[in-house]
């Protein structure tokens, strides 16, 4: 049945588009593409689930197939117009991620998160930079480049390619209902790495500019970073405070208020050079850790999370250009493999040093593999920052992102299932609902102890 519906919808979509191809009414086209993408991706996600693949891979695959690269049912303009939804989606996903970060509960994992971030993320950045430098003969834009220049560019590319995706991690966690030390460690690492990668990119690109052009405005770079990072964090705290007061004092209508806030964060934040992701993330963290309305916020967002995920990943898929993959195929595969090797090895080493549970040691690296929004943004920035060769380099990094976007969610999902953390939340809910209330409360240890126990058992 879903196949038939998808075919009929696709036929209607094609017919509708053929009506007036010269001047499609933009807002109608956006509504059409939104509806088509939402239903089709949702149905394909269900089909993917049947074959034990993540739904979000299905969403991404739908975007790729119906997007401009393959069938062209969604034009580039339609995809561009859908970005307004993805802006809100990013803010909502980040808010969700923030509410997941209960620092008290995660305290036993801090050591693991720190070491995995240092060795996994930091080590992979360096490894990627070294491999880029070593493989520069495969990269036309780096051929003939002086050694120092090549090293500087390699370092920037290493930072760009190491970026991860909190959105994929949160979405997979929701999809699989996973919980446990692995899930929490991965979430902690990708959130912290998100900040570090932004910082590292600013420093590395600034350094590379000074090497390549002989000048760089360190003061301006520092100012920019301060504004973007601290400004976003402070704005996030204020937004978090407002949301908390609303949830406590007004309560009802919170979904609409949250939606409005996310919209404002996405639109105004972008114009102010602030990061909507960071703003929403810090707001979520504040609400979870400093107020009693964390669950309330989480539930309010949860109700609308499915359409948000579907449209976010489907649009992300539609923006992938398969043609780029063809042109940068070999180097892209090389860097994907290198990145994966770096993450798996570095994070395993970090987890071992931190004496993390076995499940974390074995699998944490897989959670760092997915890529999405940040890597894409950094690729584009790289292209603009280094116009002399940036476009070619961006094509390469976009190829890496595309491959990771397609392949790695499935790997991480498989790992969540294998680790036994998939379904843990629903199992815990079932257990607590089966028990009398007083017993349920008595049997639920405080979060740090609970996690500590699980860590020890792990």
């Amino acid at each position: 049945m879903p196949f038939v519906i998808i075919l009929v919808l696709t036929g209607l979509m094609q017919a509708g588009r053929s009506f007036d191809s010269d001047h499609p009414r933009a807002s109608a086209g956006t509504a059409l593409s939104f509806g088509y993408l939402l239903i089709t991706a949702f149905l394909v996600g269900g089909l993917f689930k049947r074959i034990h693949l993540p739904k979000l891979t299905g969403y991404i695959a739908t975007g790729i197939v119906v997007g401009p690269s393959v069938l062209g049912l969604l034009t580039e303009r339609m995809v561009d117009n859908l970005q307004v939804f993805t802006g809100v989606a990013v803010a909502l996903i980040a808010l969700t991620a923030g509410t997941e970060l209960e620092l008290r509960a995660m305290r036993p994992l801090f050591r693991s998160i720190g070491w995995v971030t240092l060795l996994g993320v930091g080590g992979t950045t360096i490894l990627l930079a070294v491999v880029v430098y070593g493989a520069r003969s495969l990269l036309p834009f780096m051929q003939g480049m002086p050694t120092v220049d090549a090293l500087a560019v390699a370092l920037v590319l290493g930072v760009v390619m190491v970026a991860q995706s909190p959105a994929v991690v949160v979405a997979l966690r929701d999809e699989t209902d996973a919980d446990g030390p692995l899930t929490r460690t991965v979430l902690g690492v990708v959130v912290i790495a998100d900040l570090l990668v932004i910082l590292a990119f600013a420093l590395a690109s600034s350094g590379a500019k000074s090497v390549l052009r002989g000048s760089a405005d360190a003061g301006a770079t520092a100012l920019m970073l301060t504004w973007e990072l601290l400004g976003s964090l402070v704005a996030g705290l204020v937004i978090g405070l407002l949301l908390a007061v609303f949830l406590r004092k007004v309560r009802s209508g919170s979904a609409l208020f949250i939606l409005m806030v996310c919209f404002v964060v996405a639109e105004v934040g972008r114009r102010l050079y602030l990061d909507p992701l960071l703003i929403a993330l810090s707001a979520g963290v504040l609400i979870r850790n400093s107020t009693s309305v964390g669950d309330q916020l989480h539930h309010a967002i949860e109700a609308s999370s499915l359409p948000v995920y579907v449209i976010f990943f489907a649009v992300a898929g539609a923006t992938i250009e398969l043609g780029v993959l063809a042109s940068v195929g070999l180097p892209a595969v090389l860097f994907v493999v290198t990145r994966a090797a770096g993450f798996l090895t570095g994070s395993r080493l970090g987890a071992r040093i931190a004496d993390a549970p076995d499940v974390v040691r074995r699998y944490v690296g897989f959670g760092l593999l997915p890529q999405a929004g940040l890597a894409l943004a950094l690729s584009m920035l790289f292209a603009k920052a280094f116009p002399e060769f940036g476009a070619d380099a961006a094509a390469l990094t976009l190829g890496v992102v595309a491959l990771n976007e397609i392949i790695t969610p499935a790997l991480y999902r498989a790992v969540l299932v294998r680790s036994g953390e998939a379904g843990a939340r629903s199992r815990a809910d079932d257990r607590s609902s089966d028990q009398p209330e007083i017993l349920a409360l008595a049997s639920t240890p405080s979060p740090p102890e609970s996690l500590g126990q699980r860590d020890a058992e792990g």
Binding site: A26, S27, G35, R251, L256, F257, P276, M380, A383
Partner: protein, 573 residues
């Protein structure tokens, strides 16, 4: 949900208060740019554009992310040059020099555009009838406005403004639910207006002002799909109420009475409003656009908000409520037919449409598309879905798809979705209750967002529209009065409370949807005047209902009633 709780859940009160407070706040900022009058070209109201200074630089990019259609009615010049002092790029969001959006992959695409100079601010035409066009999609080739990064010196101001706006929103939400404030609303007689959601129109109107700068042209254009979705949603819900069994229960005599009543009211409204339109615009009565405008006014005016039946229900007359509800249903059916006829026989002027068909063919195509989409949505609904979230995806996707498809074919999304909704209401299946719950759940947020966009599109400085509005409301009251009293004189079955409720009935969401639909269909024409008349009329009738019914011993004590589109009683929401 009780009315008090509902006020929290749907902070309409908030909208109005926020609009008022922030308008004052916004007025403290930069002054509004001077209005530039364009020369209208006949009925089309073509506006001469005046280019803003070249200093209004846009961030450079290789392809505008949205060279899709854009609103052209407010294209403001700006001195907001993108800042380059901080390296000209935004590390996190990819705007500024980079001109890229966080998720933009496609080569050199970015939010930026080589749009060049800022577009002009289109303003009120000197001919009051040929008001500036209400236009959602720009003609081909026009470059869109892009999101402009704010210069460093202006950032703190925008941060403070935004945060203050949110704080005020929060404070007003709190105050809006306060007992004393509610008592004050009651005393002032504005409770019904606030409950209707119409303050969100004011919010959109305010937020789109250049001095406020929240709803920029780019953003309004980006929100265009919400307008389409809102139209489709309203149409779908109206269709979903068309339960054939319920209508079949009407006796032939009663159906005839209701039909006559509706027809009389329709003719009176069309006649009254047309007379004013004719005198005011000095147009030829045989002119197709005049007939079209008159039909749109009549179609919008005939609709009665669902809150009327609820009012009677609250007052204790369940039987009365059913009868008034049935009359409302027939009125909606008449309005849909009117909209169908207008959309089919008065085709939008754009000549680039690929299909050249006679009006009847367009009419059949509209119905056919509604049926096809209804069947597809039916198949979608029959899929085994587990949770409400999945239903939400399917409902949202289906209605958006239907509205988009209708829009792409230049058909009325309201009618197409209404047909689809009517089919789903009458097909067998156990999906109806869950679908209804989903519709109800999303109804309010979508409707309120829809109203915000409607407010952003509204040209309140169209004075001819306000004059027409007075005539329109007067004609509507007269038409409704004639409609309810005709059968009364002949010994009809409506009691005084029912008649009063029907005469003073507010217009509701469908009337707004009809005129917005017309605005999308016929941009750049006299629809702007109609738009003001109907939207203003919707606000006025909400006030009138409060004023007209407050002293009624039965209806006056019913309190505030929500214009809930769906069938579910408030308690189930």
């Amino acid at each position: 949900m009780g009315s008090t709780a509902w006020r929290f859940a749907n902070p309409q009160w908030l909208g109005l208060s926020l609009a008022v407070v922030l308008t004052a706040f916004g007025a403290m900022g930069e002054p509004l740019p001077e209005k530039v009058l364009g020369e209208p070209a006949g009925d089309a109201g073509e506006v001469t554009e005046n280019r803003a200074p070249e200093s209004a630089t846009r961030p450079s990019g290789d392809s505008g992310i949205a060279d899709a259609g854009r609103l052209t009615h407010v294209l403001g010049g700006s001195d907001d040059a993108p800042d380059s002092s901080a390296g000209g790029s935004n590390l996190l969001t990819g705007v500024g020099d980079a001109g890229a959006d966080a998720l933009t992959v496609r080569g050199e695409q970015g939010r930026g555009s080589d749009a060049g100079a800022a577009e002009p601010r289109e303003t009120l035409a000197q001919n009051p009838v040929a008001a500036p066009p209400l236009q959602l999609d720009a003609p081909p080739g026009e470059t869109p406005e892009v999101a402009i990064p704010v210069p460093v010196r202006e950032r703190p101001e925008l941060v403070i403004k935004t945060l203050l706006g949110l704080v005020m929103l929060l404070a007003l939400a709190y105050l809006g639910g306060h007992r004393r404030v509610q008592d004050l609303e009651e005393k002032l007689g504005i409770s019904q207006l606030i409950t209707s959601g119409l303050p969100f129109v004011a919010l959109g109107l305010f937020a789109s002002q250049p001095a406020v700068g929240i709803l920029s042209d780019k953003l309004i254009a980006d929100l265009g799909p919400i307008l389409r979705l809102g139209l489709g949603w309203i149409g779908f819900i109206v269709g979903f109420r068309f339960n054939a069994q319920r209508l079949a229960l009407l006796s032939e005599g009663r159906a005839s009475v209701i039909a006559q009543r509706v027809a009389l009211a329709f003719l009176a409204i069309v006649g009254g409003a047309s007379l004013v339109l004719l005198i005011h615009s000095k147009r030829d009565a045989a002119e197709p656009t005049f007939i079209r405008d008159a039909l749109i006014l009549g179609t919008a005016g005939i609709v009665t908000a669902r809150s009327t039946a609820r009012l009677l229900e609250r007052a204790g007359g369940a039987g009365s409520a059913v009868l008034v509800s049935t009359i409302g249903l027939v009125e909606e059916l008449a309005a849909m037919m009117g909209l169908l006829v207008v959309a089919a026989y008065f085709r939008p002027g754009s000549s680039e449409a690929n299909w050249q068909l006679p009006g009847t063919a367009w009419l059949l195509l509209t119905l056919g598309l509604g049926v096809v989409i209804g069947m597809v949505v039916y198949a979608v609904m029959l899929l085994r879905t587990r949770g409400s979230a999945e239903y939400m995806v399917l409902a949202l996707g289906s209605i958006s798809f239907a509205a988009g498809m209708a829009g792409n074919l230049q058909l009325s999304p309201v009618v197409v979705c209404c047909v689809a909704g009517a089919l789903l209401a009458n097909f067998p299946g156990d999906y109806k209750e869950r679908l209804e719950r989903t519709l109800l759940k999303l109804e309010r947020p979508i409707y309120l967002l829809f109203l915000i966009v409607v407010g952003a599109l509204w040209r309140v400085d169209d004075f001819s529209g306000w004059i027409l509005m007075l005539a329109f409301v007067g004609a509507r009251l007269l038409g409704k009065w004639l409609g309810v009293n005709m059968r009364w004189q002949a010994g009809g079955e409506l009691d005084p409370h029912q008649r009063k409720a029907l005469v003073f009935a507010p217009m509701g969401a469908l009337a707004i949807a009809i005129v917005v639909n017309a605005g999308i269909f016929y941009p750049g024409e006299s629809i702007s005047t109609i738009f003001t008349a109907v939207l203003g009329g919707a606000i006025l009738t909400e006030i009138v209902v409060q004023w007209g019914l407050r002293k009624d011993p039965v209806l006056g004590g019913s309190g505030v009633v929500r214009d809930n589109l769906s069938n579910l009683p408030e308690g189930r929401s």
